[in-house]
Amino acid sequence: MKAFTVSKAVTALMLAGLLLLPLYSYLSGNIFIMTLFTRIVILALAAASLNLIMGFGGMMSFGHAVYLGIGGYAVGMLAQEGTGSGFIQFPVALAASAIYALVIGALSLRTRGVYFIMITLAFAQMAYYVASGLARYGGDDGLTVYKRSDFSGLINLSNRTQFYYLCLACLFAVIFLIWRIVNSRFGLVVQGLRSNEQRMQAIGFPAKRYQLVCFVISGTMCGLAGALLANNTDFVSPAMMYWTRSGDLMVMVILGGMGTLFGPVMGAVVYLLLEEFLSQITEYWALIMGPLLLLIVLFGRGGIMGLLGRLNRG
């Protein structure tokens, strides 16, 4: 293993950029960039959690945005009912996501391949319709969160800089956790199951149990992203878990590089910046974005991380 590689250098640059962003925003007076990047960091967190099951575990979930919705609604609904404390809201958001992941994981993992993609999608759509039917919490129109989660003086979520660093800290914590998981015995078993499930079972590993635990961990992490997202937009709606959002998350993971630690973060940054950049040039930004995705699939195997790796060898 080489000590210095192009991908490592680019990753370090990106992370330094994320860390120093508030300073740049302060110096340049550009407030919008903070809002934009808070959103990017939160969605990068969601993409990183998806990468744990998709990239390392080989479980192609097409309904991952559902946890964004569950985490978000947990915060929104509690706030609506008068429970503003983040010490209650966040644990509830994580627990709700974990329980949901446990139930749908137990059912979905009975299937594989395209059927797995579709059943996770179906469960997410189900949650979407449940949320649309919640008349008390705004139904289709969504729910405004009037007060951000209150951490009683520990951290103020309404302060733009503090909130940004909270999101960034959560992202780093999650990536650290994923790094530890992937390199643990548990993580090696999950990765072994991705390569050859039959063989792993023949050695004596209970495949489904390992995959389910991984699935639940990933869902819980994404629930955290959901709780943060609700605080970021001050609004939750069923659209948070619409299937195109799940598609967005998948695109971020694949664009950045599946099964790499920092790939999803890179993917989220590039995807969302590209979206922002193209939408400033032309109203019809998707006209460029769509074919671009197609080209990335056709020619850019391994995503950005794969590309950087090839640069290094070439």
């Binding site: 998709m54 192609m60 097409f62 059912l107 979905s108 009975r110 299937t111 594989r112 391949g113 395209v114 059927y115 993609i117 579709m118 059943i119 999608l121 179906a122 469960f123 759509q125 189900m126 319709y129 449940v130 649309s132 039917g133 008349a135 139904g139 299937w243 195109t244 598609g247 998948m250 695109v251 694949i254 019809y284 930004w285 998707a286 006209l287 974005m289 769509g290 074919p291 671009l292 995705l293 197609l294 990335i296 699939v297 056709l298």
Partner: protein, 305 residues
Amino acid sequence: MLLVVEQFLNGLQFGLLLFLLAAGLTLVFGIMDLVNLAHGSLYMMGAYFAATFAAWSGSFLLGALLALGATLVLGIVLEISALRHLYGRDHLDHVLATFGLILFFNEAVRLIWGPAGLALPLPAWLTVPVPILPGIHYPAYRLAIIVVALLVALLLYLGVMRTRIGMLIRAGASNREMIGALGINIKLLYTLVFGLGAALAGLAGMMQAPILTVQIGMGENILILAFVIIVIGGIGSIRGAFLAAIFVGMIDTLGRAFLPNLLRQVLSGAAASTAAPALSSMLIYLLMAIVLVVRPEGLFPANRR
């Protein structure tokens, strides 16, 4: 009684429409092993083409016919220019690439036709109610959808099961290399199958167009339903798609029609009318989840390998 019969027919009509969409999807999926999310975009394009050509030619039928041809051509162009290169790749690549195509098509439509929806007015002879039972009338157009869709289903069945092309298609599905070695132009065959699937999707779109408005994103919700149908029916199985489509169409329509009243027995009026559509949409996904848990390969798995 009147309402029950009418809703039952509506369910059948919606189910058959879903079948047209699902049939193309399951053909492409079963034969080329391609997950095509952009199938819903072809459905949308069919509707837009029909609305445009009908307004241009002044005739509903001529417009529909031209639109059918246009969607077929669009499908073939799409296959040759992009999707052909995805065969044999990972399913995830398919999802991503065709997701990109959805973005492209939605935006292209917005650029060409504008963000507002179009309307496809029916000719007078299709708007009259037709007596189907003594005392019960049903709109001629919905009846026409049922007839056309059943006809297409029959033709599709005969075409796949009884003709030489159909035999080649089935052979291509079970062993691609072998049929290529026997001197069949498998590439051309795949292009034809994709074109056929596109035309079926376009047909479904243009037939639905006069009932709903023609708008951007119309293909996305119904695409998910079509996916649910082919997963319930078993991927690659046209028979399974047919039965599952009728089933899903019925559940969706009957749920929407009768659930609000049922719910009103237990809930307050306002709560029932918001909860009912959500519940009937949920029923379909619940059905799919149950089917997949009990039979992970769908109800009628196509006999492959």
